[in-house]
Symmetry: D3
Subunit: 224 residues, 6 copies
């Protein structure tokens, strides 16, 4: 059975994408009612990166990175690759050569529910990756998969053109259709949080700021 | 069923606590006959922190951080929060707003057998956390728990007022009653280790320093 | 039953070893046809180290580090210790005192399918360790094991005198007999990769550089 | 933010569903080009069950089973419940009381990426469950979720009205739109496999039955 | 440092213990407000056992079963052994010889956060074990531990003389002081559940039986 | 790079093999000084099997079962297949068709550090498998590996012609060279264990049977 490469996908405007990056994973997830975060085994290969981009998806065979050569051509400025093998694999699918090609096209990073290698080089190049594994073992190029079809990566459904936000807190998926609304809600939350942060820094308690004392008493909380 | 907040706990003198911090997890655990360390999945969210403090404990519902608002009020200078959900949860219970409030009260860090978020901000603020997970997904505020009751966190029993020591080697619990003795034994070990370190740096072998050759021979060790 | 210490092992020339270190784990594994890498749970205790050395092996009882005192005497310039317990253990077998003794003898690092402690000190000393666990809990010295016998560490067979390459991508084993050939193949790969890196940086695609378009079409890949 | 219950979903004809059950997970997955299987941590609570049904989906808060009371009313003959918490939870969401209610409505089983309890009773009642965990600890009823929205369960996207096939090999999802085609392909495979099984039982080799010897030689396989 | 064996512990009356066994893990945990269950990696080595007994605790060195010989003498009719190593170990501490000795003394089973072996023999003998691992590898007898001191096993604090309830849902700890009350509450729950089971079997819905419709509406649940 | 099939291997006499099967994993491992057992994640797909056989080894690409077709031809009466992928894979490599072919040749079972499927059929056929995973997802046939070369499976080195013993306690490897001696030692242990079992059944204590009281006292054990 053959795979398919979908060439044209509907991307989110980069102004929206970039504002979501600024908000970061925790705020964006909160703005989506605590949804969107991939499983916590997806970790950055080095600390400190915070990016957002349009998802270009790859459904890839286990331990076979042929399709990554295919997907490079489909990428453009502001994209993030999202790759999931069809069964578990810790092989090192991705290294500095792919990153060189992707950086040239303006790709901002990689999310892979598999293995990554050359992590020291990738850090030096400034190409961030969130992966399930780090492993030196490479892959073959024998079996095809598909590009820009709906996939599931680390517990989250990802459609091509969804926005991916990734930082030290992990990876969050923002559906294409709600990206602008989530950005707006994220901004509102940031403003509200800034006010509360100032209160907490001044010594006020969340119990009072949020008016929780009565509700806790009603639930039966007792002080002894 | 309601929860309970115990207001008054018996803390260890901070002079003892601070000396234990200086010794660090490995030495303190050794001084307790190889006990006290939480399971190794409890990792610092950033490297380099070394703290000790009096445990303020929270038994918390899974994926519900309401009780963290409650516990802030019970904290004071030199405390460390120790939080365990009543069943497994990787949700992100804790972020920079809580840390702001806790820093204001002199709390030194957090130990949580669950998820943490805003880890880049927490590093910037200098609020160290040892957690089982890092995850952007937040929690609800619907169900109550208890503060300052005996809990189990990552395999170790923790009572309010026990001393927590945490560094890059993980987290160690020192029971309230033996804190001073453990401090003394830790100091003695440091002195002994300093002497042995000098011998090893000079090329002496542990086999000779500790007089092990005869015992190994008696056990049947053979050189070929 | 007694253990055995094999004193004389056949080491690989350090010129070969050092060139393998320069190539690093990913290239060396590729030069071995995607073999040699230990399981990805073997992680460096701090980032940035890249070493190679001759394997000195230790089969060690779980939670008992007596044999590490024994093995120090068998080590020499350019060695790397490789230690596996005979059943699972997360105990902290190794700390800064051992590292002091090993550095004195020119040992370059430690690979252990168990626990390590004093990790902040080890980073400061510049003694790199790749371990399965980090844990403050120490071990006893009651039961003997063997030095320089064939072992399995984290999924890979290791014989004394094999070359170990370790960096941020993990740990790779190069059999003694093929070390020179793997070095040569690694160098050839580096040259080839440098050429391809330049092409990718210039915007060429792997699809064209490697002539993959026809093969993908033959496999049934479709563009829509 | 409120949840939503979608009352009307488009189910697959039970004749198709039942034929898929007969084929079982391995054949159905093969007929889908090796896709559709949930992660292997989804295990039956007792061996020997083989079912298929129309998916009724629930996105549920961690450690909160309120929505299971809601979903019962939406179930009908031939359905299978598929439940995923929005963050990891090993709590025991489901037991024999729910199973009693669901059996009454003709529900055939439960797939839950969380915990199940009363497993001995469920086996006695003949209500099969595939879960990630078995745990006695129960849940609260405080927070709402949604019924019959698209979810991800154990690595697979599940839409309401997809067909779920589950047996001792795990759980497989068949998309609604392709259920009939997958059934047909599964039947064709069973016939082909029956012929090959007879050949293998008679001592023929796959190397000959599938004509693999030349291809293996071309790949470079050598016999020594 | 030496270990200690506490000879005299305060056991719970076996009439209470036996009634708790009849209720089983899920009910007893519910009667304790969803607490008491060990982590779900504690699994029975064979299905179908349901026991309760007075906890006799052992803090044991990793991969060393010497103390199991010590504890046999301290056991009596109606006891359950609860064993935790001081650091992780998957070694096979326990087999049919120990079970023979314990059965002779009326011990009902074993809970061990480590490895067990001879599982086929143990099933044949009818000696149930809940363990974290099953492994053939045995242990040494070199290092002492303690009997009948407070321990933590699989996430739960266990004191000597607490009641252990174990069945196919896992293992639950009932503190000595509340055992009678938990029994009473368990019985009350069973009666209530029996009534509800009859209603559900008759087709009533939990939404109505528990009067949930209004509360769900107030929370914002919408039907579409 | 091509793979290799080694046709002629030196097998252990089946009389020795069969006697080792009778002893079982725990006794055989004990007779090897607590070595030989694979990691405990290798579990039987159904309970109750106890086998031994000569190892026929396969180093296999991840998620590719082509080489299993190759190895069938190399198998004979009394063999056990031992298969390890070169990087982690949970794919279902093996099912009832392969088992049909292998049973015809007298193969006794399969050990695979990967996935297995058709487990209900395999149980019905009486073809036992010890695997790391059970998963319905199949594999491709694109890349070659090697047959009858030394491999590592689940933590143990396995050479072709070693004896594999497998039962409900897991899988144990007996090196070819020591198989007869291990059989003899296993028999001696069984006789000794039978005598001790009788003593324990009569109420004697290990403390007295093994004369441990003095040694424990010398170690510092105290009774209170």
């Amino acid at each position: 059975m053959g795979g398919v490469v979908v060439r044209n996908i509907d991307r989110v405007d980069l102004a929206i994408v970039d504002r979501l990056a600024k908000s970061g994973v925790a705020t964006v997830s909160e703005a989506q009612a605590r949804t969107g975060c991939m499983k916590p085994y997806m970790r950055p290969i080095y600390p400190g990166a915070r990016i957002a981009g349009n998802a270009v998806t790859v459904s890839i065979p286990p331990a076979d990175n042929w399709m990554i050569h295919v997907v490079v051509e489909q990428c453009q400025e502001g994209d993030i690759l999202v790759i999931t093998p069809t069964s578990e694999s810790d092989a090192g699918y991705f290294g500095d050569l792919f990153a060189t090609a992707l950086l040239k096209r303006g790709v901002r990073g990689l999310i892979i529910e598999g293995g990554c290698r050359d992590v020291a080089d990738l850090q030096e190049m400034g190409f961030p990756v969130w992966s399930k594994y780090i492993r030196g073992t490479g892959t073959v190029k024998e079996t095809i998969g598909s590009v820009n079809i709906p996939i599931v990566c680390a517990g989250m459904a990802v459609n091509p053109g969804d926005v991916i936000v990734a930082d030290d807190d992990g990876v969050c998926v923002v559906p294409h259709a709600t990206a602008a609304a989530v950005r707006d809600d994220s901004i509102a939350r940031e403003e509200k949080e800034a006010r509360n942060r100032a209160k907490f820094a001044a010594g006020e308690l969340g119990l009072d700021v949020y008016g929780m004392r009565e509700k806790l008493k009603a639930k039966g909380l007792k002080y002894v």
